[in-house]
Assembly symmetry: C2
Homo-oligomer: 338 residues x 2
């Protein structure tokens, strides 16, 4: 049974463990600082398929299978898969999972999807509805560019505040077993700071990250000091700095324990990604390839994973609408220190 700690936060009574994680990424991501962390780095942006969209789906399926394998579970042993992505109508998830035979909950949380799927998946286990679930999401630079911005062939110049959609997928099998556990879940409200620049997503999402992280602290009685590391999803360098400034305004200095997955994914000086990585696959592959494995090695024992999403579409931007943001936070802890 989940215990409500406040408006947005619940504490799990039967916290599930990360029993298998996998991260599959593209070539550029495999040349970045986290290159040693990924299970598979594809040299081919099509992942052997005939289109980028089909390649994205292939990447998700490969990631799902790898996570199942690392958890020593067949798809038959997975009670639910919770998945979503950035493509219109979330087709890369649907096509990846369509032959799996696993009961399927489709999600749309933009780049917050990994935290949303972990939240709902952990709650399904805590409730007894499931023993084992898979949370999975991903994104693809090429399919995202042509859907959200311009055809790649156009060669449009990118603004300094823009981010680079990560080609990558992350998949986590949650269930009973050894591994870091999900202890608390803080679900985001939508926060609209009035940003309208679709090339500055970090600015649009940082206020949502601030709102959710502060709600988490308020409702759990925890503070920055409690956590060894706090990761936002994909605010990039611009959003990271805005969030730091918001913390500072409140008299908090998280210091180096606060990191952003979009900043970690690439070398911002040399890889030409401007403000950093973005996309569902950014925080998902950093979580599943880097954060959880590092926790398993004892690098950190208490982590707050706060994935962020921008709830807009190209059409809403064209119609002059603002860019509402959302952030879902999941507390991940090594059992030994609970």
């Amino acid at each position: 049974m989940a215990v409500r700690l406040g408006r947005q936060t619940v504490k799990l009574t039967f916290p599930p463990a990360f029993i298998g994680t996998a991260a599959v990424v593209g070539k550029k991501e495999g040349e970045g600082p986290l290159k040693e962390c990924f299970d598979y780095i594809s040299e081919d942006s099509y992942f052997g398929e005939g289109s980028w969209e089909k390649g994205e789906s292939h990447m998700l399926l490969q990631c799902f299978r790898t996570a199942c394998d690392k958890a020593a579970k067949t798809p038959d042993a997975i009670d639910y898969v919770l998945s979503g992505d950035l493509l219109n109508q979330c087709v890369s998830s649907a096509f990846a999972m369509k032959d799996s035979g696993v009961p399927y909950f489709g999600l749309y949380g933009a780049c917050s999807t990994m935290a949303e799927s972990l939240s709902l998946g952990a709650l399904l286990i805590d409730s007894g509805a499931a023993e084992t679930v898979c949370a999975i999401t991903g994104s693809h630079f090429c399919s995202a560019e042509r859907q959200y911005r311009f055809p790649l062939e156009y060669g449009g110049v990118r603004t300094p505040t823009s981010q680079w959609t990560v080609t990558g997928a992350g998949s986590a099998i949650l269930g009973g077993g050894q591994g870091p556990i999900i202890t608390n879940i803080t679900t985001g409200k939508i926060v609209d700071a009035g940003i309208t620049d679709a090339n500055s997503m970090g600015s649009a999402m940082a206020p949502a990250a601030y709102d959710t992280i502060m709600a988490h602290f308020r409702e759990t009685g925890r503070s920055f000091d409690y956590y060894d590391a706090i990761f936002t999803g994909d605010l990039g360098a611009v959003g990271h700095d805005i969030l730091q400034a918001l913390f500072h305004d409140d008299g908090f200095d998280p210091g180096i324990r606060y990191m952003d997955c979009g900043v970690l994914m690439f070398d911002l000086k040399t890889q030409g990604v401007n403000s950093g990585g973005s996309g569902c696959g950014c925080s998902a592959s950093v979580l599943c390839g880097h954060i959880v494995p590092a926790m398993q090695r004892g690098v950190w024992d208490r982590v707050l994973f706060a994935a962020t999403g921008a709830l807009m579409s190209p059409l809403s931007a064209q119609q002059g609408s603002t860019i509402p943001g959302i952030c879902h936070a999941v507390a991940i802890e090594n059992t030994g220190r609970n």
Copy 2:
């Protein structure tokens, strides 16, 4: 605590009640057979906004507020909202809910979204994570036509198997109180029957409805006889007849207790909708405007609500992909007969 009855079905220990439902629809829907059922019928396809997409969002917000009002709850008393829609990146839901202050789970289940949101919402209550949730979804003919098919101005001729996207929204507040309760949840697997005709969605979704409904019977030990009425989401006349044929092939004759929301929404002879209604808003507004209120009046005591979705996009259709279907089923029962 939810009790697993099988691969796809769970039984709720603390089944939540429908404590408030609302349905808001467009003019054409308000001229159909269910016209007396809806809380509000708009004469204006823009719902007073400057675009159809903003109108869709307005409709969802109006529906949310009406349901809250009928449940005598303010948004502050709603623990989670679970919402999704058909627009790219689910923007009509996000913009509808962005100022509500309610923790938000975005879903994408295509036209199955109402059953998906009820499923996850009921499980959140059963688990103790929530006391009160809102499940809400909708669709809009004009925004869907130009996104999925052609600009309305083009005046394209529609095939006999095509369906008419319902302009409508349905919202259900689940929680403790009087009203029909959700007792069992059967979550769909994705079923791909190999259909590629994007103008025959009923054909693509009927096999998924069959799969989920038969799984529900197998895992609960129930049969057609148990239910007073069984509703599929929006198979339309074509999909309804395919599903009937699939039942007959197995030796079952559900008779008149099996109905489809897409068939019920319009007068198929006179309203020019070909195979019937479709869209997230079809099953949502029929459930919230017609089915649940009829259960409250004692017309039916045991209902299986099986909303169906086609997990495709215009791009996946253009790339020659099949149309995978999904169906989530929710058993709704009047407490008196449990």
